[in-house]
Symmetry: none
Subunit: 169 residues, 4 copies
């Protein structure tokens, strides 16, 4: 197998995909078992059976790892049905299910909360919030006049769902 034309030749041992997946799974598991606050870089490395430096080589913080683990699954879980692109009520039900019942939903809520407490995480989430992106798309596809302020519309659509998930049991 050859390297793609135009790519710098990758010298040295290539990154282990096994390690990447082991870390992402470890983060998912630990979030459920211990919660975000109790989760540590040390614990993640040990759970994944991986050296600590190896984790730091590819991610800077636990939030970054969780974000990567989250976006992969969020696309799948959220766009799952993809029933009627214009049905906002169906989208609402899908988001509610995502937040309440999936690992990726729990990760997303944790990241949303962490972004509130740590500016570094806020920067991470600012650009690529997968749920917000899905909401924007659903709003665009929905019939009716485009709202004046997209932010208000998203808040009206997602706000009650997210609030219920945050304060719910």
């Amino acid at each position: 197998m050859q390297t793609k034309i135009g790519e710098a030749a990758a010298r040295g041992r290539p990154r282990s995909e096994t390690v990447r997946l082991a870390v992402l799974m470890a983060v998912d598991d630990l979030l459920v078992e211990e919660g975000y606050e109790a989760m540590t870089m040390k614990g993640i490395a040990e759970r994944a059976g991986v050296g600590r430096q190896t984790v730091y080589r590819w991610w800077s913080t636990k939030a970054e790892i969780l974000y990567e683990a989250c976006v992969v699954d969020a696309g799948r879980d959220l766009a799952a049905g993809a029933d009627d692109p214009g049905d906002l009520d169906a989208f609402r039900r899908r988001v509610a299910g995502f937040l309440a019942s999936t690992d990726a939903g729990a990760s997303y809520l944790a990241l949303l909360a962490a972004a509130q407490l740590d500016p570094a995480v806020a920067t991470l989430m600012r650009g690529g919030d997968p749920v917000r992106a899905a909401a924007c798309e659903a709003l665009r596809a929905a019939p009716g006049d485009d709202p004046d302020d997209i932010d208000d519309a998203v808040a009206a659509l997602l706000g009650p769902l997210v609030y219920a998930a945050l304060t719910g049991p």
Copy 2:
């Protein structure tokens, strides 16, 4: 009269109100200056000019301190206007201003987020959420039929406001 009847005589040196206020103010200041995540019990004690053990004697975690600092101000800032008890739009504006512009609002958002990441904080907030309490009261006073599910009604009322505050700038 020296001590109230039925009250145990207070033995030993009484708790210093000065210290209590210094700690609450320190927490308010540090939350604004450094953020919740960077705030530490050590830092709070030093900022308040108080021994570390003295802080631990009265509060277990920074969340507990912040909660006490928050509820005191929340009642004042939130119920301030109290213009028309039945005007939900006025209540919405008041909450939006509280979340966006007051120290107590910032504390409240931080606690809401921290509750998502730390089960201990969740327990703390479960019982006495001052904003939720105000929302329940506003809903009760508003004209119109009482909603079937109070939780849904609160989510519809506060959700967009809180979501906007969480994801806003």
Copy 3:
């Protein structure tokens, strides 16, 4: 009851002899039970059933308390037999028994050690070492020419006994 003529009238509540004895007994007990290092002012006060400030009012350190508890008993235990003032072998046996078998002996060894580690205790012991005093008296009463250097003579007399007690089981 009246105050003695020529003495300043003792105003206020007089010092409680009960408290003094309770503290001295507590120190003796705690030395045996927990050892000198583990003994604390707080622990002494609690064991004696006495306020902490009350202990500090009359003594500055645990060494001072132990010293007072020691000298009272040392005189009794050491001069007990008082058989033949000139018999150095009898004195040796008496000292060995004192160091090995009495509470006051244990206290004395602890103070001797503490003096080595803490200059404040060293100052305390410099002046009034009860065992050294007894040894000097025994040497003076013994027949034979007075030694040139009293320090050497005391070291020759007490050294082996103290060393054995220090390193013994």
Copy 4:
């Protein structure tokens, strides 16, 4: 050949000899400057320019560090002359000089005292007392009949010297 047969391959970063020596020197210095009682694990780490955890990784207590610093030097300082193996008076002079004038001698006296106050230190010293070991060897080499009780002989030999050093200026 890379690793000796039967030896486990040393994994991870090897222990820093620089750190070990820095800590031992810091202990020696602090004992002289501040005394044993005032010496703290925190202070040792700071003086050595070393993390606190690094000290705890290799030693449990300040006594353990001092012991390691002491035995290294004691062997050198004590067996230095080694003039006539059978000359007990020469040995006495060597020990007296060791106790009075060397850092290792001061460390030894501090450990001897600490062993009296703290059972953990006593256990540490019980096995490997370097001065006692030297004394046993000197006695064995000395002409004359072997004593009935080695403990008595050591006490007679070292007792006066140690006692003088303990109570001296």
